[in-house]
Symmetry: C2
Subunit: 222 residues, 2 copies
């Protein structure tokens, strides 16, 4: 099953939007993108339709398609839902966790620990994502796993910036440790509670979120 140009363009644009290369409200010019990707307008338009459907872009009939980044308010809302989904996933995962799962999680967790020592936020975030994704799958609910992963991906730049807050990476690491031992002990409640603190930047570290948001939208203005 080979990938089509239109699908590759869709993914490329998604990446570029999430990474902040394409700024909020920026027009996604069909002609410009066509020449950028070396194709005609047709596959570009199909990619734009898909981005619009997934919420990363906004389409105004006969006006054009524009990057649609969340406002601070929307970001707070998204984190609130993210927290709920992550907690649901860990709750379900706790009921069906296997030795093998624990092994996989612990291996990744150790890689994270090394990244903390090396103060390597990029590496930490990468492995952290993999670890969380594994928990989603462990829930046994693939619909949930999918939705959660997609939301996780969309919040990526903000979650990543969080790690640069002083002491946050160590704190995150400690939470991972608690979650893992709770899973091992079959203590679902503790796992859920810790996960809630782990994700819920809104309740616990609202100011950090605001400054991450500002730092990203400032970057966009330049």
């Amino acid at each position: 099953m080979e990938r089509l140009p239109s699908a590759k363009i869709r993914d490329s644009l998604e990446q570029r939007i999430v990474d902040g290369e394409l700024n909020n409200k920026q027009r996604l010019d069909e002609n410009e993108l066509s020449s950028f990707y070396g194709v005609s307008r047709t596959p570009v338009r199909e990619a734009l339709q898909r981005l619009t459907e997934s919420g990363l872009a906004e389409h105004l009939p006969r006006r054009g398609t524009f990057v649609r980044s969340p406002s601070l308010g929307q970001l707070v809302e998204m984190f609130e839902v993210m927290t709920e989904l992550e907690c649901m996933a860990i709750r379900l995962a706790a009921r069906r966790v296997t030795i093998k799962d624990i092994k996989v999680l612990e291996d990744d967790n150790e890689i994270c620990r090394e990244a903390v020592k090396a103060n390597d936020t990029i590496k930490y975030y990468e492995v952290n994502s993999r670890l969380h994704n594994h928990i989603y799958k462990m829930s046994g609910n693939s619909f949930l796993a999918n939705k959660t992963r997609r939301l996780h991906d969309r919040l990526r730049p903000f979650r990543r910036l969080q790690l640069r807050v002083r002491g946050r990476m160590t704190e995150s690491m400690a939470e991972h440790d608690i979650i893992l031992s709770a899973l091992k002990a079959g203590d679902a409640d503790s796992a859920v509670e810790t996960m809630k603190k782990h994700i819920d930047i809104v309740g616990v570290r609202f100011n950090d979120l605001v400054s991450s948001f500002n730092s990203i939208s400032d970057k966009n203005k330049r």
Copy 2:
């Protein structure tokens, strides 16, 4: 902001899929749809891209686009997530409910009660949807409200069939009453617990779900 043909076709197809007019695995033939809607393939293809992105269709490169209805297993997963989101919405709604909200909910609830008396499941489901949707909005989290409404819509045919199970409509009505009085009394926990029972067809009425599923997929085979 006038609606474009491609957008109308997208919505029409969504409706036809959810309503079961277009069956699972059925090929969404571009030429056929073009002549059906009296347009060229271009807007049809754009509509199909969007349906694929939203999960209602599946696209296999160079093979075609096919209706993608959930399997029984996926349906169970979706109801599980639906329950979580509805509970989250009512929990948040309970914290910020106003007199005006209560009034709106009670009005709709009374219309529901009349529908029960008339044994009118269609009317009941219609107003019931509006009532639930109002609760989503009351959560104050529009991101959550959107996601929840969309999932609600996708589960519509199954939720609706549920109401035809003997005694289910009366039971549903009684739960609405409890949820409303809990909201009025500011008792979030009770509202959440009742909502959980209200939605969680999987835990409580799994057999009913299986038979709804079978009745829908039987219909598709004919």
